[in-house]
Symmetry: C2
Subunit: 427 residues, 2 copies
């Protein structure tokens, strides 16, 4: 009896401690103040990124475990950066350690699909003015299905990367510096009122961002007229430009919330070509891994489910802080792109409140009577309810390129593994 009572008391104290730690975690997320402060080559700004390092998405794997688009993306990165003359040399140098393959998220970076970073690539530099930490994301390669981050490397991809390197990075960087930085929080807040969930839909956010930059671009056009026109064409060329900013913004937000002792809130989610994995605020840098889940996808014409290929992806950092699949009810136009129905989107969105710690005080969903987005995925709630995070993702095809989009539910196994480790560490 006494022993049981003590056990219950200890458990209650643990839960209270956990609640406190989780509350601090989501409060840090809510307090984040992400600002785009610069655009620079990765080697100049990403701490620890040597010229021989290639970053890629996902919890790191041994080199021989990478396959398909992610593997060819990494090799493509080595060729683009001039680290190897051909695929075989790249493979040998990676095996020998002369070229280092590492995980984006360990460098404050966040990978789209295969998520290939090399030293010369321009990155968006997002600073969390509240926490002081920084996160980085490289640039949208445009609407062509042929992109390095979809595992394709050829002359066309190389030209696009050069264009990003020679024009978009420098001109955008100068405009951003001229503007004194662009605050991203107000853009995210407004875009949620304009049909975006900031993951698979960034239409409004891209427009709002462009408007914030326009004054600086008009200034800059005095000196660099032709380049500004090209940059504007690039910004207007797709509605996904802002995705890289929402990813960097969410990464800066999640990183600021990581590391609270006793917290059981997820602070990172990621895909490699083989696995899904999560990190937890109170469990250090360990990745909890699970095999790939199934995706409910709407594929572009001419493709079938057999064409789907996983090649990594970290844009689910947006879901980690309550956007994307956690804000579907803000983005009904997404039906068109990733399937589903309004009722299903609302249902999915509401389910996310069951597994999260709180509701964002600023980022709100109009259809849900301006309820704040569900923030802070608690691994215990996921395991207790069996409800796993919903994620809006782009779908890659075998042989490269995007072939569709869909909603995916995270596999529960990694949350179970995390709970087990949590119990081991904190009980």
């Amino acid at each position: 009896m006494t022993s049981r009572f003590h056990e219950a008391t200890a458990r209650a104290r643990d839960v209270t401690e956990r609640d406190r730690a989780n509350a601090e975690t989501v409060e840090r997320m809510w307090a984040a103040d992400p600002v785009l402060v610069d655009v620079r080559p990765a080697r100049e700004v990403v701490p620890g990124l040597t010229p021989e390092t290639i970053l890629t998405s996902g919890a790191p794997l041994p080199w021989n475990e990478y396959f398909g688009g992610q593997r060819s993306g990494i090799v493509g990165g080595a060729l683009y950066e001039g680290l190897a003359a051909d695929g075989q040399e790249a493979d040998e140098k990676i095996r020998s350690g002369e070229i280092r393959v590492a995980a984006c998220q360990d460098y404050g970076c966040i990978g789209s699909l295969a998520g290939i970073y090399t030293g010369s690539m321009p990155v968006l530099v997002v600073e969390n003015r509240r926490g002081g930490n920084r996160a980085y994301c490289n640039l949208f390669e445009g609407k062509s299905p042929q992109r390095l981050n979809y595992g394709v490397y050829n002359e066309q991809v190389r030209e696009t990367l050069r264009f990003l390197n020679d024009l978009v990075g420098p001109v955008l960087g100068e405009a951003v510096r001229l503007a004194g930085g662009i605050e991203l929080g107000p853009i995210v807040k407004r875009a949620l009122n304009m049909g975006d969930e900031l993951h698979s839909r960034n239409t409004a956010a891209t427009l709002l961002f462009t408007r914030e930059l326009f004054g600086a671009l008009v200034e800059l056009a005095q000196r660099r007229h032709g380049e500004v026109r090209e940059l504007l064409d690039y910004l207007a060329g797709g509605d996904y430009f802002f995705l890289r900013l929402s990813m960097a913004s969410s990464k800066a937000t999640a990183d600021a919330a990581h590391g609270v002792e006793g917290a059981s809130v997820v602070t990172a989610m990621t895909f490699s070509c083989r696995e899904f994995a999560i990190r937890v605020g109170g469990l250090g840098d360990q990745w909890f891994r699970a095999p790939m889940p199934d995706v409910e996808a709407k594929l572009f014409d001419g493709h079938t489910a057999a064409d789907i290929e996983y090649m990594g992806g970290e844009s689910v950092i947006n879901e980690t802080v309550g956007l994307g699949g956690f804000a579907q009810a803000a983005a009904f136009p997404l039906q068109d792109y990733q399937g589903g129905s309004p009722e299903r989107m609302v249902e999915t969105n509401l389910a996310m409140y069951e597994i999260t710690v709180g509701e964002h005080p600023e980022y709100r969903i109009p259809y849900l009577r301006f309820r704040g987005i569900p923030t802070g995925i608690d691994i215990h709630r996921v395991v207790e309810t069996g409800i796993t995070p919903a994620m809006d993702i782009g779908v890659a095809g075998r042989g490269g390129g995007q072939i569709g989009a869909g909603t995916l539910r995270a596999p529960i196994a990694c949350f179970e593994a995390a709970v087990e480790e949590y119990e081991r560490r904190y009980r």
Copy 2:
């Protein structure tokens, strides 16, 4: 028996004729291709607008019937235009006919609130490339509650009007001409996917329009840098700039559909300070009038229902073609501005399908599974169902200025009067 049979046959033929006429009417609405082609002083482009003419909203009234904000707006227009030295002189000259007060819609113009047009004011020139007809709207006066179209005329209002006249009109006009015109249909279509219903919410449309103009503005900044900056500040200063364009676009659309023999579809709706009125496609230029309905408004802090004052308004031309209150389910963020709930907005929107002839093939509502907006209000359906058009409107206050926003249902009496005239004419 035979007589009854003949009567029924004749009725069926009439209904078939009416259906055909109504189908043609809405097909003209759907086919409209509104393009902003220029911005010019009204006297240069509005046919028949003499220097001594002042246009105002609503079915025309004798001068002594105008009161409150609409009356002071008309007098303000006379003073601004230099047609009179003071209010008394303006009053005398209007009485004597030296100054002519006329209805906006008879001149292809469309009035916001009191809707005051004088010859020198710059107007947006919207051409329906399909029908060849043109419509005009003057410019948004900015966010201050003190505006001529809300019945206020003072030094501040005068300065704003001069700014529109000296800077916004000329610079915007040059940019529009440089851009070769701006197509408005694609903007309306996209904005419906981005939280706008194009009447009380034009946030996305204003951004999309600005983006379309960016290229031309960057060109223009080479020569008129300071002015372009000022124009940009104006465009970014409120989310309502596009409302004047949606109004002109809807007016050009509705006018193109007017005049089909036998049509019972509404082609104009309007308020004066005293009355609500409609025109019907097959019933010529006659206005069918009814007393003012009640409004369900959300008022800005510090105001009560007793402060509400009608002073005219023709932005309900948007509802006439299926936007605004007919597309509320595209604009859930409006709750914040005009009250209501998502469920109520959906319910109101669905009810509009009961009184309209068809669904727009291009302008669609994401939440309603991309159902086309309900287009073409049939006076017979309104009278049969008792469902009257829902309209999203800004609410003006006694003594001038905007004090809130809300949804208003049109009074049924004008539809009944129109049906009576329809029966008289076509039976």
